[in-house]
Symmetry: C2
Subunit: 240 residues, 2 copies
C-alpha cells in the first residue's frame, strides 16, 4: 500500500493542490494518473482517502473522499529518550522507533555524551520520522523535541506516568518488572555509548525513573534503543 505524508491536509479541506517531492514520487515513480485513488496522512492523527483530480508539472490536485482516524496507532503513549549519540545513530533509532509506534523523541545530553546534534542531523531525524510514519502506515508523526540538558531532562520525568531506564548494571529487573501493562504514558531512557555515571543513575532514580536490564549481553546503544522500545510497547500490548 502506498501512503503519502501531506501535512497540509485537515478534516475541513475538501480539495487541495500539492507540490514538491511527494508529487514527484507520485507521478515519476508510482506513475499515478488523474482518477487514481491514494491514501495519505497529515501526521496529526488523520488518514485521508483521496482522488487525484489533475497533474501538472510538479503539482497535483487532490479531492478528499474520506477522512478517518486510521486504525494503527498504539493505545499507549511511549516516548523514547536517547542520549545524543555519535554519527547517524539517532536517525537509525528514530526511523525504527517511529515504525514501532512511539509518540515522541526526547534527545538529551548527559556527562558521557560525545556526539553532537547539528542542524543537518536534526533535519535527517525529521526526514526518517516521516519515512517511518509512511512505512508503518501511521497517522501520528512523532514529535522530535529540542535537545535537553541534564537538568531539563530530569525535570521532564514528571510529564510521564512511568519512566524506565535501560541500565547495564541492573541485574535483576527486566521490562516486565518495572512497567505496568496499563501505564498510559511511558518514557524509555537510553544512555550514551559510555553509559551513565553512578550519580546520574541516582538522580534518575530520585526523579522517579526505574532501572531495568536488557540482559547480560552488552548492546550497542542503537540496538538497545530499538529493543527497549519494542519490549515496552509489547508489555503494553501494542505489538500484537
Amino acid at each position: 500500500m502506498e501512503y503519502f505524508y501531506i501535512p497540509e491536509l485537515s478534516a475541513e479541506i475538501k480539495e487541495i493542490e500539492i507540490s514538491g517531492s511527494e508529487v514527484r514520487h507520485m507521478v515519476k515513480v508510482l506513475r499515478h494518473k488523474p482518477g487514481d485513488e491514494i491514501f495519505a496522512t497529515n501526521g496529526r492523527g488523520e488518514e485521508f482517502r483521496l482522488i487525484i483530480t489533475r497533474i501538472r508539472t510538479n503539482r497535483a490536485g487532490l479531492k478528499v473522499v474520506e477522512v478517518s482516524k486510521g486504525e494503527r496507532e498504539p493505545g499507549h503513549k511511549v516516548a523514547l529518550a536517547p542520549a545524543v549519540l555519535k554519527g547517524d545513530k539517532l536517525s537509525l533509532i528514530v526511523e525504527a522507533a517511529t515504525e514501532l509506534g512511539i509518540s515522541e523523541i526526547v534527545p538529551f545530553v548527559s556527562s558521557r555524551v560525545i556526539g553532537r546534534l547539528n542542524p543537518v542531523k536534526l533535519r535527517r531525524m525529521e526526514q526518517v520520522a516521516v519515512s517511518g510514519l509512511k512505512t508503518a502506515l501511521r497517522t501520528v508523526l512523532p514529535t522530535i523535541k529540542p535537545v535537553r540538558n541534564w537538568n531539563e531532562f530530569l525535570d521532564r520525568f514528571s510529564d510521564y506516568e512511568r519512566v524506565v531506564v535501560a541500565y547495564e548494571e541492573e541485574k535483576d529487573r527486566g521490562v516486565d518488572q518495572v512497567l505496568e501493562p496499563d501505564a498510559k504514558s511511558v518514557l524509555v531512557v537510553i544512555g550514551p555509548e559510555g553509559g551513565f555515571t553512578p550519580a546520574e543513575t541516582e538522580a534518575m532514580t530520585a526523579a522517579g525513573g526505574r532501572l531495568f536490564s536488557l540482559g547480560p549481553r552488552r548492546l550497542r546503544a542503537e540496538t538497545a534503543a530499538v529493543v527497549a522500545t519494542a519490549l515496552c510497547l509489547s508489555r503494553l500490548g501494542d505489538l500484537k
Copy 2:
C-alpha cells in the same frame, strides 16, 4: 571492557602467538604492552583471561591464565531465519541479532525474494557476527548457514522445537501466544520485503510453523527481524 576474538584458542592451549587485525587493534589502538591482561573468546563457548607476554610487529604472544564458559550466553537456542534481503540489510540484522543472543542465522529464498547473497555480502555477515560477539561479550559465535531454497528451508523446521513466523496478515496472536517460555530451541522466520505468498504461509503452517503478529504497523524487514528476535528472547526469559 575490551574483548578479543581469537578462534585459535582452546582449553588445552597454555601459550599462543597471534597475528593479524586483532593484534593491530591491541597494539596500535588500545596501546597494550607486555604484562597487560586481556579477555578473549574462541567463539566456541569458551572465554579466556590472558596475559600479553611479548609484542612484535603484528604478532603478540599470549599466556592463558584462566579458561571459563563465560556467563552471558542465553539459556535457549534462538535461530533467526531472514529471507535474503536487498542491499546490506542482512548485515544490519546479523549484527544486532548476534548482540541479542542468537545461535544461528538461516538465510532462505522464497518466491518474492529479490535480493541476492554474493560472497562479499556473506563475508560482511561473518564480520559483523564477530563484531556483535565482541560487543556483547559473548562466547558463542552464531553459525551462518548456507542459503536454503524454499524446500530445503521447510525441511529444516523439524530441527527446532518451535518455529514462529512473523506475518503481516496475522491479526490475533502475538509472540506470547505462539511461543512457550520453556521452548529449548526456536526458529524465528522473517519474510522478504514483499512478504510471503498465501501458499508459502500455508506450507510453513503445514510444516509446523506458527504465525504471529508484530502489531498493526507495517515494519521494514530489518526492523521486524531485530524486534522479533528480541521479543522471542524476552519471552524465553533471556533478555533480563
